[in-house]
Each structure stands twice: as structure tokens, then as C-alpha cells.
Symmetry: C2
Subunit: 308 residues, 2 copies
């Protein structure tokens, strides 16, 4: 069996948008707040009635349009989400049913937020390798519009809904190298659900990112036997412009190597990295991608992906 990696990525970003310029006035923010701090002018909102599994199925449809594969070859479905259709059963079961996948296909959710894609990529590829599986799909889909308090100035301008479907095969375009992971469990309550609404201690999260993420990225590149110069693109979790700028500055890299591109839809949690990766993949001259996810838990994970 060849090395397992990413064959292609399907992306679904709902077409409905809310307008942050309108919201600015409500919260009394300066007009520069959108440009300099969050970098989000519109946030995407899922269709009425759509749940996590529906969004994931739409991402699967996008994937199927550009990649030919037989759904009966899918041996495992993993979903990174903390906002499944219901808490029980898991979203992977609904997706399995809606896509009419074979009974022998394994299915489970991973409960993680902004580090979910990187963790999920390690989990699904290692699960597949250990179980002799050749094809799997890693979904991300965390519809935060369900849990945002529209009166919360800390969160209501930031998050957008989206889903992605990443096809993992033994005939991949890019393969993961070594992963690094981390948890700051004693700060677990800095991002959490309170009465079904998101609470986020922004300054605690900034402090966390400064303390752990640039070091983890440098360490990850190093244990992959590479240097900063070898990395063609830094695909960082698109938390906010301010947060991405902090990491870029600490790493001392040019912004052109670390795209920030969520102006039109917002921070889509575990979907932010695969959305950006999908845009970057067609540029065949790019060989090495550093991906790094960080957020709720507090939690982080990084990896280098290399074109083969």
C-alpha cells in the first residue's frame, strides 16, 4: 500500500452572508476594527434547516464533482465537529446514512474545534494505515451560527459556517509528515459553551497563541527535517487577522507566504485550514505546506504536508 495522504478537498461555503459593516455601529467599534483586527467583512450562514451532516454532504458533492471515486470504496468517515446535528448520534452516522455508504464503512466524530482538521488528518490516516484501509473521507463542519449570541461583541462578527470533505487515499497529491500536538487543559474554560452560546475570553486566547503556536510551528518544521525557508505556504488556522498577524510576526515570515483569506465568510473553525489548502493545492510549484490549527481546549496541532 502506498503512503496515505490527501487526494483532493471539497468545500462548501453557504451563499448567505451577514454584513459586519452594519453590525459595527451596533457595537460601537471603530471603522478600522474590521480592517485591522478581525479581517472579516461578511460571515457565512448555513441554509435554514441545514445541520452539520447536511453541510458535510454538500462538501462531499463538491468533492465528487472534481474527483472521480467510487463511494463503495470508502472504508471510513471521520467528522471533526462540536456541533453535530444532535449530540447523539454522531454526525458521521447521519452522513453515512445520507450518502448510503456500505455497512462495513467505519464512522465516528472527533470532538475538537479549530485544531480539528490537523488532529483529524492524523487520526484518519493512522486509523486507515493500521486497519489496512485505502480510502476515507475526513469531514469538517462546525456550524457556529447555532451557538453565537448575536449580541456578543466578542464573537458575533467573527465566525462563519462552512464544511469540507477531504478525500484520503493511497494515491495522494500531498502527504503528511510528522505531527505535533498540544493541550492546555487548565485553560479549558477560556472557550466554552454557556447556555448553548459560545463564550470566548479573547485576551486569554491571544496569550495562549503567543505562548505556544509559533514555537510549535518552528518545532514541527524542525522535526520534519526542514527549515522555515523550505515551507512554501503557512496555512494557519484563520482565527482572525489579528491572531494570524501575531503568528506571522513571531515567525518572521512575509505575509505572502501565510495567506489570510476569510474576508468574505469568517472564521470557519475546523474548516478554515482545508478551505485555504484547497485554494492552494492547484499551484503545483508549491511543495511544502505547514498547517497549524489552534483554539478550543485549549488545543493545537501542526504538520507539514508535502507534494509527492
Amino acid at each position: 500500500m502506498g503512503k496515505l495522504g490527501i487526494k483532493n478537498i471539497g468545500v462548501y461555503i453557504p451563499s448567505t452572508r451577514t454584513d459586519n459593516v452594519e453590525k459595527l455601529k451596533k457595537f460601537g467599534f471603530k471603522s478600522t476594527f474590521l480592517d485591522e483586527k478581525i479581517g472579516v467583512y461578511k460571515t457565512s450562514v448555513k441554509d435554514v434547516g441545514d445541520e452539520c451532516s447536511d453541510m458535510c454532504v454538500k462538501a462531499w458533492t463538491a468533492l465528487a464533482k472534481k474527483t472521480s471515486f467510487n463511494k463503495d470504496d470508502v472504508d471510513v468517515v471521520v467528522v471533526a465537529t462540536q456541533n453535530a446535528d444532535t449530540r447523539m448520534p454522531h454526525a458521521a452516522a447521519y452522513i453515512h446514512g445520507k450518502l448510503d455508504l456500505k455497512p462495513s464503512c467505519a464512522s465516528f466524530d472527533i470532538s475538537l474545534g479549530c485544531s480539528g482538521f490537523v488532529y483529524g488528518l492524523s487520526t484518519i490516516t493512522s486509523f486507515m494505515k493500521a486497519n489496512g484501509m485505502k480510502m476515507g473521507v475526513l469531514f469538517t463542519g462546525d456550524p457556529y451560527s447555532k451557538i453565537i449570541d448575536q449580541n456578543d461583541r466578542n464573537t458575533s462578527l467573527l465566525f462563519g459556517d462552512a464544511a469540507t470533505a477531504t478525500l484520503i487515499t493511497d494515491d495522494p497529491e500531498i502527504v503528511p509528515g510528522k505531527f505535533t500536538f498540544g493541550t492546555l487543559g487548565q485553560k479549558a474554560e477560556e472557550i466554552k459553551l454557556v447556555d448553548e452560546k459560545l463564550f470566548m475570553n479573547g485576551s486569554a486566547v491571544v496569550k495562549f497563541v503567543k505562548r505556544f503556536i509559533p514555537d510549535d510551528i518552528r518545532n514541527n518544521i524542525s522535526i520534519n527535517g526542514l527549515t522555515m525557508d523550505n515551507i512554501d505556504r503557512f496555512i494557519l488556522h484563520q482565527a482572525s487577522k489579528f491572531m494570524v498577524d501575531i503568528v506571522i510576526k513571531d515567525l518572521g515570515i512575509d505575509k505572502s507566504r501565510a495567506p489570510f483569506d476569510i474576508h468574505d465568510y469568517g472564521n470557519t473553525i475546523s474548516s478554515s485550514i482545508p478551505i485555504l489548502l484547497e485554494k492552494t493545492l492547484p499551484q503545483k510549484e508549491l511543495m511544502n505546506f505547514l498547517i497549524s490549527g489552534f483554539g478550543i481546549g485549549l488545543s493545537w496541532a501542526s504538520c507539514v504536508l508535502t507534494r509527492i
Copy 2:
């Protein structure tokens, strides 16, 4: 690195019990219902204020009492649950914080129910192998007392609270062979949460178990290069006496080889298999254990564990 497997298991079953004999009258069941159908006389109930992570920490304490290990060597924590402390963050983050584990320890939850331990065992061992990790802990803890409608005759006599902590190392007592998995996503709604209470279509679940589980167990034993006679103990998910009897009968095995032992605490979801396994492990003459979990999803997973 040696093969990864189970070093030891810590079990926590709360001491508080509800009495099913009392409840029988309320629902008008015959007195034989407990003996012949569910096989549960008392159900365990978590301490007031305890959440999933608290129960898991108690299981960790039980594990630490009987096994010497350094908590700073723990590289990953995986929790199988669908009733974490809150939906966000994941229970693994709380456990990481409460146990004061190292920052480089990976942590995530898997959202699965009664198949959670078997899935979790494959997930954590494959994740550890792929990431070069030598020590991890797989927790199970699904406090159904939070979601049981005490007026529901289908569920209120059946489920008990418990948690387990399984130490995975490269110096194990028993190691997993090949796993099999399955999903019947089109029946995802036969066990689900409705208004924060458990709904279970008992007859649909019985039909599902009859159709898939004995065949999966036979298939799993076969792909592990063994025969039914090689299996010393069949550690089946302890769904109910009726359900375990169905599987035993179909497999044509003697009941002495497939223990049913939940009279005093009930169906503890993903904890039922590790609880039984912990009791069986000290019997050194037993070499091969078939484990099989099945339930919400609908979902199933089986594996043979072998003493080394």
C-alpha cells in the same frame, strides 16, 4: 518500539444505586422481566455534581493505584463519550487540566456510544503508533443518568453510570489483533437524543443486532486467523441480558465463555467492555478475548485481544 496494547484498566462505578424492583411496579412489568429480559436489578448513578471528566479522573485514580506509571509519560488522552461535561470544550481537555498532564499531550474525544471502547482502542493505538507515542490513556465515560427520562419504560431500568481508564503502552499485557467496523447510518435515528432525553427503538435495535453482530464476530475471528474454539472469552457489550443471549445463541457458544455481569449496575455504554475485561484480565490462563461493541449510530466494532 514494541507492539502497543493494554497494560491495565482502572474502573470507576459510583456507589449510589437505584432499585429496579421498586420501579417494576411503576411500569407494570412482570416480576420475571428483570431476570429474563434486562438482567439489571440496580443501576449505578454518578455522584451529584460529577461530570464525565470527574468520573474519568476517578477511573484514572483506580488505574494509578494498581499500575505504576509516570503521568508525564502520557502522550495522548482519548475519551469515548457522547455526554461530555459540556459539548464544548471536549471532556479530554478537562481531564488533561484536572490531571495536570504535560502541554505536549494530545487530547480529543471520540463521539460514539456502545461501540466506543473498541473504536477507541483502534483509534488510540493507531494514533500512537503513527506518532511514535509509547503511552496513552483511553477513557470511557458516558453518564446516561443525565439523559434518561425516568418515566420511559424502555430505558429507565437499563443504563448505569461508570467510567474506565485503559493504559496503553508498548509493554502491554494484551494486544489487539485486526479490527472490524460497521455502520448502519440509515438507522441513525433508532437511538437518539430527543429534547435532551434518550429515545431508543428497542425492537429496531434487536433486529440490527441479530442481523449484523454475530456475523461480524465470526468474521473478525476468522480474519484474525482463529476459530471460535480459540476464543477463551467473548466480552460482548453488555446491552441487556436479552441482547447478549441473542448473540450467544447465534454464535452457539456456552454461556460460561460469554459472561453477563451487570446485575448490580446496568448497561454502562462504552464502559461495559473494559469493566468486564478488567475482571477477566487477572485470569492468566485466558489467552484470547473477543470484544464486540454495538449500539447507537447504528454502529459496531469487534477485535480479538491476545495475551502476550
